[in-house]
């Protein structure tokens, strides 16, 4: 009954682990991929007002013009990038929908798509659901989880249609400097390849300035589908608002699919997102709080024996458990059973990361402190 390609997409290998966490009380979970902040009040208040005013209809398929204009202005201000709100910006139901639309708009069956691993879990799954083939580009802790240009060149020989970039990255938290991005683009631009750049965590960059991929040069802009949204930076995960910016031909194709499959993003959420663009002060407050926690957690994890690269963005650490000679899934299970701390095994983000765990520091400082104490106790018994 079920389509073969859907059957073939492997279910999350750690489902069983999730169920274990769900059934356990008093767990400190460092496994959460969303902010622990509640959406800033001015944004929620705007959503309430929208309902009071009776804004309960569809919007245009592309999304509210005022929101598209706001996004366009915001991107221009941050990255000196110009996207025409009318034809080059599409409002989606979160970045997840934007990503799916991008793939559906460009992929023919059997096309190849490069996915940098460790990856956000939806990337390979959605590439396969769209009947295309994933070419994995593994990174290593030794290379700071950054793209190895030699390996990239090698993969490009297979003429992939697209490459998916994600920085600051979930699950590693690493991001790229302008120099590094230019080097990647230099290699990519030798081919006619579409770059899907998921920059969901751009607001959560702690050192240096986030460089948006399409800002590298004119051709980079033409070839890139820029995906972003309000979930992470603005603590609005449940509102489900994202956006895609790009060449008008691609955006128009994505809009066509979106108009049939989703119609439009919820109007109340779109109104809230329009307000969010004005809430820079709230963002700043959250970013400085994340940075403090990052500084605390990374230092403590390294001290107690979990080798952890300093992540420059997002709210994740991708720590190595290699020296304990234990598989990540076993590590996570035992840590949960013995000390009631939940982390996500690295294998969720790429088969080869069986010596890593993802730790989310989107949690209160008190919880993080207690978690570190418990992990240290756990490690001493390993």
């Amino acid at each position: 009954m079920i389509a073969k390609r859907i059957k073939n997409v492997p279910p999350s290998g750690i489902r069983e682990f999730f169920d274990l966490v769900l059934g356990m009380p008093d767990v400190i979970s460092l496994g959460v991929g969303e902010p622990d902040f509640i959406t800033p009040w001015r944004i929620r208040e705007k959503a309430i007002t929208a309902l009071e005013e009776g804004l309960t209809s569809y919007t245009s398929n592309s999304g509210l013009m005022v929101l598209r204009q706001g996004i366009s202005r915001n991107i221009k201000k941050k990255y000196s990038l110009s996207y025409e709100p009318k034809e080059e910006v599409l409002i989606t139901e979160g970045v997840s929908e934007g990503f799916d639309l991008a793939l559906r708009a460009i992929l023919e069956p059997k096309d190849k798509v490069i996915v940098v691993s460790p990856y956000y879990v939806a990337y390979p799954a959605l590439v396969e659901i769209n009947c295309a083939k994933v070419l994995y580009l593994p990174t290593t802790q030794e290379e700071g989880f950054k793209i190895n240009l030699k390996k990239l060149k090698e993969l490009l020989k297979q003429n992939p249609k697209a490459i998916i970039l994600n920085y600051p990255s979930n699950p590693t938290g690493i991001t790229y400097t302008q120099k590094e991005l230019k080097a990647v683009w230099k290699v990519l631009s030798s081919k006619n390849i579409i770059v899907i750049s998921d920059e969901t965590y751009d607001e959560l960059t702690y050192e240096g300035k986030h460089i948006s991929f399409p800002s590298l040069d004119k051709k980079a802009k033409k070839n890139t589908i820029l995906l972003n949204g309000f979930s992470k930076g603005y603590a609005m995960t449940g509102f489900r608002v994202g956006f895609a910016c790009g060449d008008k031909e691609i955006i128009s194709a994505m809009t066509k699919i979106h108009s049939y499959s989703a119609l439009c993003a919820p109007i109340v959420s779109q109104v809230a997102a329009t307000e969010a663009l004005l809430a820079q002060k709230d963002i700043k407050r959250m970013v400085s709080e994340y940075k403090r926690r990052r500084d605390f957690v990374v230092k403590e994890l390294n001290k107690i024996g979990l080798q952890t690269i300093n992540p420059n963005g997002a709210f994740y650490c991708f720590s190595s458990v290699a020296k304990y000679k234990i598989k990540a899934l076993d590590f996570a299970k035992k840590l949960l059973m013995q000390e009631k701390v939940a982390v996500v095994p690295g294998t969720a983000f790429g088969r080869e990361f069986s010596s890593h765990i993802r730790i989310s520091y989107a949690n209160s400082l008190d919880n993080l402190k207690e978690a570190v104490v418990r992990i240290e106790k756990f490690l001493s018994k390993l």
Partner: protein, 160 residues
């Protein structure tokens, strides 16, 4: 505001060890910086925010009092403000723009006590032109802290 002040404003009881971890500064550096802030009067005092409604046996009323004042030559409002804020009943005293000049927060055991404070101490002062007393009925938020209702976070324990 720097990191130290921002953290302390939110939690003055944080340990030096934790503050050091959060700011990346050594405990010695922190002690020096904090001492300096205290000396300059940037940090005035460390206190707990208490929800008096939850204190057993606690009685008392709070009033906000608007005061109209005739300013005096050379010293403006400062002198009369000092006459007023030195009363221990006065918890806060602000000079405002607008239709009246001083806003006081005054605490007393009951309405009668506050009323006598106003009629016997405050109103007779020579430069006071008028007062309006408002008794507080309920505190919803105090010093940036919501007292009545906690926000819930409904996150699932594991998400990608």
């Amino acid at each position: 505001m720097d990191d130290i002040l921002e953290i302390l404003e939110n939690n003055a009881r944080i340990s030096m060890a934790d503050l050091s971890k959060l700011t990346g500064k050594s405990q010695k550096e922190l002690e020096k910086a904090i001492k300096n802030y205290e000396k300059k009067g940037t940090i005035v005092k460390y206190k707990a925010v208490i929800n008096k409604e939850k204190v057993k046996g606690e009685k008392g009323v709070v009033a906000l009092i608007e005061v109209k004042v005739s300013p005096q030559k050379d010293v403006g409002f400062d002198l009369v403000a000092e006459r007023i804020y030195r009363f221990p009943e006065v918890k806060s005293c602000y000079l405002l723009s607008g239709t009246y000049d001083l806003l006081l927060e005054v605490c007393g055991e009951d309405i009668q006590t506050v009323a006598s404070f106003v009629s016997e101490k405050l109103a007779p002062l020579s430069s006071i032109r008028g007062t309006a007393t408002h008794f507080l009925l309920k505190k919803y938020k105090q010093d940036g802290v919501i007292l009545v209702k906690k926000e819930k976070n409904s996150r699932l324990p594991i998400t990608y």
